[in-house]
Symmetry: C2
Subunit: 227 residues, 2 copies
């Protein structure tokens, strides 16, 4: 018998908000199986598009969102992961900044929403497992590459970065030591501006210097933030 395996892509898109912590973008399914269940955005790959194109297309169609970082996560291929057909899914994970985090309303009829990774609903297929793998990967990635900057506003107070690391790595970290370490790398610039949010002293804004970061990286620098 000839091969009858379908290929799909699924995307685990992470957003971050200092109040809410890390969230994942979910949609409700329009069709059986798992109709009306929450699921990862994704769908079948078209014959002439690349996997990345497929992910970006689905994200646009289903959630009206553009990610600014996208990386392949893992390919899930157990024969029974879809109850109807054999479908292997190439999963990606993406990161979006807070401003894209506000979903544009004009997407399809289906529901789209952010869910904190601490309070996920029941998910279709093996999507819970895929999300778990993505979270682990993001944690690992964060520990040796400053991808966190893709989740923050272009200009942000230092405490946002700190909170991001704390919420994702889920353990305390020393404010002074953390700042010392990050600033020592030299890819983070302190700006003249400040902002104030709620109570307390206004906070200086910082921005990530990508150019400097890539220079350091070229020179074989290791960013091991094994915090």
């Amino acid at each position: 018998m000839t091969q009858s395996i379908k290929t799909s892509v699924d995307a685990v898109v992470f957003g971050y908000d200092p109040e809410e912590g890390v969230s994942v973008l979910l949609i409700t399914r329009k069709y059986e199986p798992f109709r009306k269940s929450w699921a990862l955005p994704g769908g079948l790959v078209k014959n002439d598009e690349s996997l990345e194109q497929a992910v970006n297309r689905e994200l646009k169609e289903e959630a009206g969102i553009d990610v600014n970082y996208l990386e392949q996560l893992y390919t899930f291929g157990k024969p029974d992961r879809d109850p109807r057909n054999r479908v292997i899914s190439v999963a990606y994970y993406g990161l979006v900044r807070p401003k894209d985090y506000q979903l544009s309303a004009d997407t399809d009829a289906e529901d789209v929403a952010w869910f904190s990774i601490k309070k996920l609903p029941k998910l279709a297929f093996d999507h819970k497992h895929i999300v778990d793998v993505a979270i682990k990967r993001l944690q690992g990635k964060l520990a040796y590459e400053p991808v966190g900057f893709e989740l923050l506003e272009k200009k942000f107070p230092f405490s946002d970065l700190e909170k991001l690391y704390q919420s994702l790595l889920s353990h305390e970290l020393d404010r002074r030591n953390f700042k010392k370490k990050i600033m020592n790398y030299g890819f983070l610039e302190e700006l003249e501006e400040s902002i104030q949010r709620g109570a307390g002293r206004p906070a200086r804004l910082y921005q990530f210097n990508k150019k400097k970061y890539f220079e350091l990286k070229e020179n074989g620098y290791n960013f091991d933030l094994f915090i």
Copy 2:
């Protein structure tokens, strides 16, 4: 038009020999396209088998080999990577010990051989690229997990481990410091036996204590051999 994408697996199997360095297992293709060209072992996934089963089956059929470590590498899905059909390939990389490294002769008619990663022949499809990705991954993996032991004999002289790291990370390392670091982790046991190979003083044999390793790992130990 309905989807007509095929799913295959390809395997980058690494072997190691202290004399030869790190090698990759290649086969010659029986059919067009790229007939008689060197290529990675692999082939189409069957409808009812998992991706891992497919890799292991192909390795058995095409090269008569069993790997003792297998991990998914990346999924390659560019529309034009196969000149005839659209085929996405889920690539795996595997490690074998020297004794499996000797290929059993009774495989199919096609050629099977090891090639040093320093002297690879021209490869079919995008297999050169896949091998490059696998090498990078192995280097990275080696730096934070002792997978190297899967490449060495059960009992081995310390210098084999040292040579493995040197050849793969391609820079000098201090014998004393390296040994100090590895032995400090506590998952490597010194045996009473020695062997002698060629000239020079006989070398003590060592063996990897997997149980101890997993204990340490459970306790959140980090093996960062950023050498």
